[in-house]
């Protein structure tokens, strides 16, 4: 089949200096296909965020192969990694993380602005479309910090999609939301996945939400202990 969005082979991550070295991830192998909607679960401290940061090119693995969209990242320098990250990967964080100095629309357009260097009408048009898609078309000119938590998270999702990334990484995207908002945000992620074919890797502590993904990967103590398709989630795709 086509090349995977993500390929990990023997990924290890250790913190600390040579003497005090402390390994957090012990050889992770993982392959994520295009359009997959996968959940990453596991107890606290098992290394989920660490793994997500490596995949998101925010950090470098101590050892192992990390290929994003067919591009081996080992040889890339910081600037090249940053560019690859900006173009191919979207992030949604737990603490929504919008930039308060900018409006909702500007936050969504930010990855485009960073990549192109100067603002243009097209990027704001796209930001407007994306905001409309996440149901916030009316609030495009609101200051980012004057939106509710759920609204901010939806803006963050729109922002993650701005560059049409191949892969969206979400670290507990609903962790800070009430059940209702969490369901809405999760449904939105799923909708984007189905409509645009974007791959998702979602860290969650909520078994209910994990149960609505196509695939569930479980991490314990820095190693993958189970990786299974989830029929229930896959069935939801049809909806």
């Amino acid at each position: 089949m086509a090349e995977p969005v993500l390929l990990l082979d023997g990924i290890r991550k250790a913190y600390g200096s040579a003497e005090t070295e402390f390994e957090v991830l012990h050889g992770i192998d993982l392959r994520l296909e295009r359009g997959e909607f996968a959940a990453l679960i596991g107890p606290s401290g098992s290394g989920k965020s660490t793994l997500l940061n490596l995949i998101g090119l925010l950090d470098r693995p101590s050892r192992g192969l990390l290929v994003i969209d067919g591009e081996d990242t080992a040889a890339l320098d910081d600037t090249a990694l940053t560019r690859l990250r900006g173009e191919r990967i979207g992030f949604v964080f737990q603490h929504h993380h919008l930039i308060p100095a900018f409006t909702a629309e500007e936050n969504v357009a930010m990855p485009l602005l960073i990549a192109r260097g100067r603002p243009d009408a097209a990027m704001f048009a796209r930001a407007g479309e994306l905001l409309a898609r996440v149901g916030l078309g009316e609030r495009r000119h609101h200051a980012a910090n004057r939106l509710s938590g759920g609204q901010q998270q939806r803006v963050a999702i729109a922002r993650a999609l701005a560059m049409s990334p191949s892969l969206v990484l979400a670290d507990e995207p609903t962790g800070n939301l009430d059940t209702h908002s969490a369901d809405e945000v999760f449904a939105l992620l799923r909708e984007v996945n189905v409509q645009l074919g974007t791959s998702f890797l979602i860290v969650t502590h909520d078994p209910r939400l994990a149960g609505r993904c196509d695939r569930i990967i479980e991490l314990v103590d820095g190693a993958i202990v189970s990786d299974r398709p989830n029929r229930a989630g896959a069935d939801l795709r049809g909806e």
Partner: protein, 402 residues
């Protein structure tokens, strides 16, 4: 507008109070620097102008003069007095005059036949310096015409222009006659056509201006001149130009800088001490900007992390914070220039002569605002270097986790 500018301006705008305070801080610093610079240059220009109102920028004297006085601060008149018995002419002075007239640095060339004499009127007799001049040329070197307080600058045969002090000493006024006799024994009766005030009491009591021809006759210098006075376009070049003239003509060339060495030294040490003050004010402005930006980088570490996650490079982060420093410096300098302008207006209102006229006029040069703006922006950027590097090096993982 590029992304970095947008982000820098937004960050500053969002940090309202902080940005405002630091801009005011920079403004006060810039105001002190601009105010001091304008005041000092105004003061110094005024002092130099007063000093040079009765002195040529460069005085050329015959080469063979042996008994050259050691007292560098004595002016030309005093020196000529000392060599009363040995007045010499400059060889081929017309040729030298015409050649120097062609130099681009030189504004005016004025040959002078000068020497000691006595002015007698009734019972009163005064030692004076007799100066035979070509009035149009001389006037370009020393603005005699504008300093006239009575009469006109007319020195045809039988006419003389004298200073107000001498007029008082001799009890003479415009239209009165006085008798001038030189050390060589020649004498002539002249009519006073004008009275001048060159702002220097000694000069006002001593100088008697006559036509070049009259001077030459009285001083036994027929066809010759005792010295050539020069005016330059740029005062500060006087010493350099004087050396060149001396080398090329073999004449003795005394610049005003050498003649007023102590005065010039005083001026330059004044400038040095003001530079020291300006440097330290600038330094404290830089530290102010740096400390505010260091705090801002810490406060914004999360946002820096997000921007990095969204594809902003280290270089972009660096520029965003350098720009903030530059922008703070720039706006601070505008505020500071405005403040300085107010100070200067106020100062000119307060600092007045007893008669109510301004002590001296300070020109507020627009160029100074430009220099202040450029300088402060640069200082801002330099001050931002450290915080900006911190921002660029921030580990996005650490920043986002917080």
């Amino acid at each position: 507008m590029p992304f970095e500018w947008i982000a820098a301006l937004r960050f500053l705008r969002e940090g309202r109070m902080q940005s405002l305070l630091i801009i005011v801080g920079v403004g006060v610093g810039v105001a002190v620097i601009v105010f001091m610079s304008a005041l000092l240059s105004g003061l110094q220009a005024n002092l130099v102008r007063r000093t040079l109102s009765s002195q040529a920028h460069i005085v050329l004297l015959p080469a063979e003069e042996v008994a050259r006085p050691q007292d560098a601060s004595g002016n030309a008149a005093v020196r000529l007095q000392k060599q009363a018995q040995r007045l010499r002419s400059i060889d081929q002075w017309q040729t030298i005059r015409d050649r120097l007239q062609g130099w681009p640095e030189i504004l005016a060339v004025s040959p002078v036949a000068a020497g000691p004499a006595f002015a007698v009127r009734g019972d009163a007799s005064k030692a004076v310096t007799l100066l035979g001049i070509e009035p149009e040329r001389y006037n370009q070197v020393i603005a005699l015409e504008e300093r006239l307080v009575a009469g006109r600058l007319r020195v045809a045969a039988g006419e003389a222009v004298i200073g107000i002090e001498l007029a008082k000493d001799l009890g003479a006024d415009v239209g009165d006659k006085l008798r001038i006799s030189s050390a060589q024994g020649d004498a002539e009766t002249l009519t006073v056509t004008g009275l001048f005030d060159l702002g220097n009491k000694a000069v006002n009591a001593r100088n008697v201006y006559v036509g070049l021809r009259t001077g030459q006759t009285l001083l036994d210098l027929v066809g010759g001149v005792s010295n050539i006075d020069l005016a330059l376009h740029d005062l500060d070049e006087a010493e350099v130009v004087a050396r060149r003239i001396a080398a090329e003509t073999g004449l003795i060339a005394d610049s005003w800088i050498r003649t007023n060495a102590q005065f010039v030294t005083a001026l330059s040490s004044q400038r040095v001490s003001s530079n020291v003050i300006r440097f330290f004010v600038g330094l404290s402005v830089a530290f102010g900007i740096a400390s505010v930006l260091v705090v801002s980088v810490i406060q914004r570490s999360k946002e820096i992390g997000i921007l990095r996650a969204m594809g902003a490079t280290r270089a972009q982060m660096l520029r965003i914070f350098l720009l903030q420093g530059g922008i703070v410096g720039f706006f601070g300098s505008l505020l500071g220039s405005a403040l300085a302008w107010c100070f200067l207006l106020l100062w000119q209102l307060m600092a007045r002569n007893p008669d109510g006229t301004p002590l001296f006029v300070i020109a507020f040069e627009p160029a100074l605002v430009g220099i202040a703006a450029g300088g402060a922006s640069l200082v801002g950027i330099l001050a931002a270097l450290l915080p900006a590097r911190r921002a660029a090096r921030l580990d996005p993982v650490v920043a986002i986790r917080g």
